[in-house]
Every structure is written in C-alpha cells, then in structure tokens.
C-alpha cells in the first residue's frame, strides 16, 4: 500500500487511499467536543435505556451499538466508493455519496464528517455553496479530494471516540 501524501500536490486532485487512512491508529479523543454532537447521539442512546426491560438478558446498549457499528461499516464502504468515484472523476456519483454519508453521520451527530460530506456533495455539483459560485470540474475534484481527506480523518476521530465510549460501558458493566 502506498502512503498517501495529501500535501504533495496542491493543484491537482489527490488520490486518497482509504484503506491506509483507516488503518492508521488515532488516539481516542478525550472529549466529545468538536467530534460528536452529544445531543444528537444521546437520543439514540436513549432508545437503549427504554429498551432495557430489566431482564438483563440482552446487551444493555444493543440498539445504539448496532446502529453505531452499522454506521462504521456503512461509512467505510462509502469511503471506498468515494475513492473509486474520485479516481474515475465521477462528480455526480461523488455528490451522491457525499449526500449519503452526510445523512448518516448527521444522524449520529458526527458533525465534522457531516460538514465535510456536505461540501463533497456540493462540490460534486460543481458548486461552492458557501461562496455561492460555480466551480470547474478540476477545481471541484480537487476540493473534493481535500474534503475527503478531512472527512476520513474526522471519521477516525469519531469512531475512536465512540469505540471508547462503548468500551467504557462494557467496563462499567463488568
């Protein structure tokens, strides 16, 4: 696997190696600040508590855990698809994938992933919504690859945090 060096090129779209990036270990963030919108995430966890029937025969947070781990899987699949679409310069596909991941990350409150994905979505439409201007295709691709990197990095943070959260729970339980 070739290491990706996003800073190597600033004028062209950078290829992103998803596998390599995801394989990198990141330290688990100590605080949810800036990583997870706890308010959003909490409503998923609330479902756990309501689910708990006191019988103890079920994992206490099975529901949210299922969603979170499902999200990990789904997000990483999407990353691979993004990588693919980026290599093929399929802007529409990129936009669609960005939209998709935006939605699910938003549901879990992983805000920075959500932000990056929203940008990917817009750039895929060759639009910079913040500036309100249209983009050329190369420019759009370039920006997408930048956001893609940010997105994966933020995702790793979020994942690390969430994993930490559930490990803690398990320790608490034992």
């Amino acid at each position: 696997m070739s290491e990706t060096k996003p800073e190597a090129s600033s004028s062209a779209a950078t290829p992103v190696d998803v596998d390599a990036l995801l394989a990198e270990k990141v330290p688990s963030p100590t605080s949810a600040e800036g990583v997870i919108d706890l308010e959003v995430f909490q409503q998923i966890r609330d479902m756990d508590e309501e689910d708990d029937d006191g019988s103890g025969d079920e994992e206490p947070n099975a529901f949210s855990r299922g969603i979170v781990w499902g999200f990990f899987e789904q997000a990483e699949q999407t990353f691979k698809q993004l990588e693919d679409a980026l290599a093929k310069k399929e802007l529409v596909k990129l936009s669609s994938l960005g939209h998709f991941l935006k939605g699910s990350s938003a549901a879990l409150g992983i805000i920075k992933v959500q932000d990056a994905c929203e940008k990917i979505q817009h750039y895929g439409n060759k639009r910079d919504e913040e500036a309100g201007e249209d983009l050329t295709e190369p420019e759009a691709l370039k920006r997408i690859s930048d956001q893609f990197l940010i997105c994966i990095k933020e995702y790793r943070l979020g994942k690390a945090y969430l994993q930490g959260l559930y490990e803690e729970d398990e320790e608490d339980d034992e």
């Binding site: 309501e50 499902g70 999200f71 789904q74 669609s96 939209h99 998709f100 939605g103």
Partner: protein
C-alpha cells in the same frame, strides 16, 4: 314402441329421462354434457368410467351410495312421486326398449349376418349394434346415435342420460377393441351386461335398476364406494333418488354460486364505499385544514370534533361492523347469527343475485349475516374449484381485520355501553359504486389489501363476541402480512397505565421472532397514546442508520414499521399494501430518487401521506418535494420529537378519536349535534348567570342525555368562564360526589390526559360500577386544545362554583387556534348573548 309414461309400466325411466333432460335444458347437465364447473362428481359418487372416454370400463358403475334422506321429495319437481318407483315383474321398459332397438338395428343393417358377427371391413352398419358375439353392444357413432336412434327409442337425445340409465341397470362400459386391428378405440362406446345378450339368450327380467339399500343411512359426506364387480342389477328406486338428489344438488349449487357472487359483489361495493368514504373524509379534513386559521401550529393542527367524529365512525365502520352492534349496543339486542346454522334456510333467500347482492351489502341485516355464513359454512366442504379465491380472501380478511378488532378502542372495552349511531349503508346501485371504484382507480383497489374487514363474512368472529372478556384478556396471536404479532392483553391496560409499564414489551411481543419482519411488528408499550388502529408505516431509506433509527422511533410510537431500501421496492409495496404513512428518503439512488418514486406512486395512490426525509432542505429542494407529490418534509437528522410531530400531524385521524371515543356518550339518547348541545348549555348558562349563588337547584336540561347535574354544572361553569364548549365527549358522566377540581398541568401526551394522573383506578371499571372516586377530565374544544386538559379537584371546584377562577383557561387561548371549531362556537357564543338579553 311402448311409451315410458304408460301407467301400468312400472319403469321409471320416463321420469328419469325427464329429470335428466330437464336438467340439461337448464344448462346444468351432468355427465358428458357437463359444461359448468359444477362439482357434481364430488357430491354424487359416480362411476368415473362413464364420464371418461377410454376408461377401464370395469365397474358396472352408476350412482352407488349416498341416498337421500327419506324426506318428502317436494324440492325436486322433475321427480315423480316415490310411489311410482317400484320394481315389479317383467323386464324393465328401458331394457326392453334397448333390446328392441338393437334387434331393429340388426334387422336393418345385419344383411344376414348373425348378430354380433363381423360384417367385414367397411360393412355398413348403424350407429349402434350388437358387438361381436352379441354379449355386448357398441355405439359406433355417438352423435348419430344420439340424434337419430335415441329419439326414436327413448324420446330424448341425451347420450349421457342414456349412459346413466345403462349404468343404473348395471351395464358397464368396456373397452372397445377394433375387430380388425385389435386396437383400442377410444371414441367407440361398448356396453355389456351379463344378462343382456343378442338373440334369445337374454334374461332381461334380471336386469333391474339398482336399489338403494335402506341400511345406508346418510353418510356425512358423499363417499365413493367402489361398485361391486359383479353388477347385481340394482333396483330402480336408486335411480330416482339419485336423479332427485342430483337435481337438488344442482339447485343448491346454483344457489351457492349466486350466493358467492353476491358476497363478492357486496364485498366489492363495501370496499369501494369505504375507500370513497375515506377519500371524502380526507378531503373534508384537508379542506378544513386549508380553511382554518393560519395561526395553527403544525404539531397541533387538527380537525374539528365533527370531522373527528366522522373519522371515528368511519374507523368503526371499516374495522368491524358487528362490534358496535353485537355486544356493545344497547339499542340492538345482541344478535346471534342464528340463521348461520341453517345454510339451507338462507340459501333460499340468496337465489336472486341482484336483490340479494344489495341485501348483503346492508350490513348487520340478518340476511347478510346469514348468507355470509351460509357461504362460509359451505366453502370448506366444497373441495372443488368453485371460487377458490374466496376462502383465501376471507382468511386474509379475518387476519387482517383482527388487529382492529382485537384492539378495540378503550371505550369499547369498558362497562358502559354506548348506542352507536348506526351507519345505514343504503343498498344502492352496485353500478354506481363500481363506477366510483373505477374513478378512484388503483387507489381504491389499494384498500382491498388492508381496509375493509367489514365485509359480510363475519359470523366466525361475530359468534365469540358475546364473551368479550376472554377475548380481551388473552393475548392474541395474529398473523399479519408483516409478521406475527402478539397482541398483549388489552383489558387491564389503560393507556395511561401502558406508559408506565414500558418494560413489559419484550415479554409480550418477542415471543415469536421467526419472521424477519417481526421485529418491526413489535408494538408494545409506547410513550404514545394508543392508536385507534395501529398505524402501518413504510420507511423508504437506503441508509441503514436511518432505517434502524426511524423504525425504532416509530415502534416506540406504537406503529408497525416496514422498511425498504429503494424506490422500486417502495412502489411495489405501496401497490400491494395500504400504508398509513410513508417516510421517503430523498436519496440519489442509482435509478430513482424519492421524488420520482413519489410521482410514480401518486399515479396510483393519491392520498397516503408521503413524508420526505432528507438532509437537503434548501428551499428549492423542498419545493421540488412538494411538487413531486410529497406531503411534508422531515429534515434529517430528525429527532424523535420531530418524527412524532409528523405522525401527529398526518395520522391525526387514527389517534384523535380516542379523545372523543374514550368516554362514551350516555346511554339511551342518540348523540345530539354539537350545535344543539351548545344551545342547551348556552341557555343554561344564560339562566345560570342569574342563578349562580342562589343554591343548587339549578335545572339540568341535559339530564336526559345522561349528564349528571354535576357534569352539567361543570360544563356550564366552563362555558361561562370561557365562552367555549368543553368537549363534552371527554367527560365522564359520573353522578354523586362533588366533583373535585384542581387545575392540571398541560399534558404533553394525549394518553395521559385520558386518565387523571395519580388515580390508578380504571375509569371504565369505575364508571361501570358507579364508582365515585373518579375525577372527571375535561378536554376543551377540539383536538388542538387537548393539551388544555383540566384535572378537576375539590378546591378548585369550589372556586369555580363561585365563578372566581380565572386560570382555567386563559382568554388568549380561546379564539386563536380553534381551527374548524371557531365556526361552531361562534354561534353558541352569540346565542348566549341573545338569550341573556331575553332573560
């Protein structure tokens, strides 16, 4: 040639042939002529070889068993009185004629050959002749024989009838082997009888019609008993009985067919009507919503009580019509479907399709129950292909109707019984309904799947009804299209209590998880008022996270959820099932997004609310959602509350009802219109304004409605206070006790407004027993205002009696958000003014 009808001739064949030909003239001929799908062969045992060409030809055949009961034979007109049917000396006329016919033929074509001798290839012969050896005879050309020979000899041209006669006399069909080639010939009929020989060797007298053995007493179902190989000549009795039975069976079959047709027609009409009704109500609701005050907040928008009431009635109508009538109605004595046990009795009434079709649609009429059950009772016995779709449908109905029925609104399960205004469905012209049905197109057809369990096939459910208690106290497992659901016992679970018993859910609902969807079918405790009918919601979402999340939320809200991942599946699902609400992701799927899917769905379903779930909430996006036919937008990421608001808004009709339905109106007086009620209260208020403080001898003009004086006074006080009518339907009509009064907190959940918090007593039980500890609960005005639920306690009541309480309802709440009610209240208020002046 002897006449079959000549009196001294004992032979019954004239009657027989009359019976048979008569039958075939009716178009119902059995045997070879059987062109209708009459399941005669199932009902009358019959030698299979007779009907089938090239059969093994072994059995002497005939109708062997299943005698008719020895009842007067009046039902069958073609049958001769039994007295004429008797065996007597001498060969039977039929056999004689047959013999003569063959001899004549031999004379005509025999050309010197001995009977039965081969005439050589190409030798001329008639359509019928003795076979070689003369021990049997052959029908060479069935058509010619039927048209030329039979009429001469037997005065009919019904070959199958002839064959039947032969069978009756113990002739059996044998395989015909061509004389020259030795090849089996399928289209030539050869019959033999041991005693029937060409020439003089015949013992014609020994050939007799088979007779019914008196020992064979009416087996429960027709059975085929293999005929004995040695063909004992059966007495003639048998034949007549069979002819008669056949005729009777045919008559019954025809009636059955027409009854089934009627039921189907009625069902169609019923479906169309309920679809139409729903559309009308939807339209009214929508119209009202559109014309109501814009101040309304989205979460609380609701129809006026009148519309709610209509919805309520509609739901009752579509859920299960016997329900309001049978055990619950005081007005109607519980009606047992007695006629259901007498298929024969009702079958007579269903003979003419048109009139009975409409009668069937008149629900609750005994005739409808009768014919429904008549059909129902018959169907299982009828193993044939008569309308095979019907039993299927009915099962489906039963299953599908069950959830609604099994979970009656709480008020229905309570002791107090209410006279429900009857819905008289007119026996209007079916054509009109069909036209409407067509006009409604596929959307109406969509109702077939889930709606309208109220078709006439009810008896199975109607019968257990009188014992409602066990019904409600046992968990009911029902199979539904989306899995197996176990409905927890309902009786003791008051909505408010349900909220508290959250934890119970799994025990009661998880017990059967074999279906992949059963998880979605979990219902259990909800932090929601229980729905008047469980909402069935379709979630169209490609994102796993939202699929799970929304399913979870919706289940918490007491909905049944089905999920699909793409638009194609969604369209397929909506084509087959009627959902109450659809949550549709605006995904950018490979081939179709939510907007396109919605526009497609709108081609066949214009009314099911489709809510877009999307994170693209730019104004231009939202506009495009609405343009595609979506009803609302739920922005992603949504919260539980956001989702709830959407449900609240779009499933109002399924939920609002509990408010008005929760506490029944009083017994004995048909519900007054709101207007009249208001007038009465307004008048009372006018009087009371002068009387207050003068003592308790206030007249209660609404006592006749079952209002206790206390109730009346509360309403009156409210009315004076606020100028509004409290929603009377939400009162408990409890007598006695000074009514305690305490101002309650606005409740966020409708379920908790039903029962005053702190009181664990079941209202139903208490009101039924006249329990006095219950405090009434008032919910003001329309559905919008249900949050202004008042819990009435002692002190406040006194306060209120003194008309000094000002915090019951703040004036600013009154006019703004009343929606459709404003119009109704307006006049009442004015009337107060007028009457006051008059006083």
């Amino acid at each position: 040639m002897a006449s079959g009808q000549s009196p001294p001739t004992p032979g019954p064949w004239s009657a027989n042939s009359m019976a048979t030909t008569g039958r075939s003239e009716e178009g119902g001929g059995g045997g070879f002529n059987a062109s209708r799908s009459v399941k005669l062969d199932d009902l009358v045992s019959h030698d299979p070889n007779v009907g089938g060409r090239g059969g093994s030809g072994q059995g002497p055949g005939g109708f062997t068993t299943t005698p008719l009961p020895a009842v007067p034979q009046t039902a069958v007109t073609a049958a001769k009185p039994a007295g004429e049917i008797q065996s007597s000396a001498g060969p039977s006329e039929f056999v004689k004629k047959l013999f003569k016919m063959l001899e004549e033929e031999d004379e005509t074509y025999g050309q010197g050959f001995e009977p039965g001798k081969s005439r050589g290839p190409g030798g001329q012969r008639g359509s019928v002749a003795w076979a070689r050896g003369g021990s049997s005879f052959v029908v060479w050309d069935m058509n010619e024989f039927s048209t030329k020979v039979l009429p001469q000899t037997f005065r009919h041209s019904n070959f199958s009838s002839f064959v039947r006669q032969l069978n009756k006399y113990g002739f059996s069909k044998i395989k015909h082997i061509d004389e020259e080639t030795g090849v089996l010939r399928e289209n030539v009929w050869e019959f033999q009888h041991p005693s029937f020989q060409a020439g003089g060797g015949s013992d014609l007298e020994s050939i007799k019609a088979t007779e019914t053995s008196p020992a064979a007493v009416l087996p429960p179902a027709p059975q085929y008993i293999p005929p004995p190989q040695t063909a004992a000549p059966p007495p003639q009795m048998e034949f007549n009985r069979f002819a008669e039975m056949e005729a009777r069976v045919r008559g019954l079959e025809e009636k059955l067919l027409s009854a089934v047709e009627d039921v189907q027609k009625a069902k169609m009409r019923e479906q169309a009507t309920s679809g139409l009704l729903r559309e009308i109500l939807n339209h009214m609701t929508a119209t009202e919503r559109a014309s109501s005050s814009p101040v309304e907040t989205p979460g609380s928008g609701g129809p006026s009580p009148r519309i709610r009431y209509m919805w309520q009635m509609f739901e009752q109508l579509t859920s299960d019509h016997p329900r309001p009538q049978h055990p619950y109605g005081f007005m109607q004595p519980p009606r047992q479907p007695t006629s259901a046990d007498q298929p024969g009795a009702t079958s007579g009434t269903t003979a003419s399709p048109q009139t009975d079709g409409s009668r069937n649609s008149f629900d609750g009429a005994p005739g409808s129950t009768g014919s429904g059950s008549y059909w129902y009772a018959q169907a299982p016995r009828d193993e044939g292909d008569i309308m095979p779709s019907i039993p299927e449908q009915s099962t489906y109905r039963m299953e599908n109707g069950a959830p609604v029925y099994n979970e009656p609104p709480a008020w229905l399960t309570k002791g107090v019984t209410v006279p429900m205004p009857m819905y008289h469905r007119k026996n209007s012209d079916g054509v009109a309904y069909r036209l409407m049905m067509e006009a409604l197109g596929a959307s109406a057809a969509g109702y077939n799947a889930t709606e309208d369990p109220s078709e006439p096939v009810m008896p199975a459910r109607a019968r257990p009804l009188p014992q409602q208690t066990p019904l409600r106290q046992t968990s009911i497992v029902q199979t539904s299209p989306f899995g197996t659901v176990l409905i927890p016992p309902e009786s003791s679970v008051h909505p408010a209590a349900r909220v508290k018993s959250k934890g119970k859910k799994k025990d009661s609902t998880k017990s059967n998880g074999d279906s992949p969807n059963s998880k979605a079918a979990r219902r259990g405790s909800v932090d929601q008022p229980h729905w008047n009918k469980t909402p069935l919601i379709l979630v169209v979402e490609d994102d796993m996270v939202y699929r799970q999340l929304s399913s979870k939320f919706l289940e918490k809200f007491g909905c049944v959820v089905e999920t699909v991942e793409n638009a194609h599946e969604a369209i397929a699902k909506m084509n087959s099932t009627k959902y109450d609400l659809v949550l549709m992701d605006i995904f950018f799927g490979p081939s179709m997004d939510g907007r396109k899917a919605t526009s497609l769905i709108r081609q066949f379903d214009s009314y099911t609310p489709i809510i877009s779930m999307t994170s693209n909430n730019q104004p231009q996006d939202v506009v495009s959602y609405y343009q595609s036919g979506m009803n609302d937008v739920l922005a992603k990421p949504f919260t539980k509350h956001g989702l709830f608001c959407i449900l609240d808004k779009h499933l109002l009709h399924m939920k609002a009802l509990q408010l008005s339905a929760e506490v029944p109106r009083s017994v004995g007086v048909p519900p007054l219109s709101d207007q009249r009620l208001q007038e009465a209260v307004a008048q009372g208020a006018a009087e009371a304004s002068g009387l207050l403080g003068r003592g308790p001898e206030m007249r209660n003009p609404l006592a006749g409605m079952g209002w206790s004086d206390d109730t009346y006074q509360i309403v009156l006080a409210q009315f004076l206070q606020t100028g509004m009518m409290p929603d009377v339907s939400t009162f408990n009509f409890i007598t006695g006790q000074p009514i305690p009064l305490a101002i309650g907190q606005p409740e966020s959940s409708a379920s908790s407004t039903i029962q005053p918090s702190g009181s664990s007593t079941d209202i139903s039980g208490s009101s039924a027993t006249g329990g006095a500890t219950i405090r009434p609960n008032m919910v003001f005005g329309d559905y919008n205002n249900r949050k202004r639920s008042l819990e009435v306690g002692d002190e406040a009541w006194r306060t209120m009696s003194g008309v000094s309480s000002t915090d019951l309802v703040t004036p600013d709440e009154m006019p703004g958000d009343e929606g459709g009610d404003a119009g109704q209240r307006g006049p009442a208020g004015q009337q107060t003014g007028k009457r006051t002046k008059r006083v």
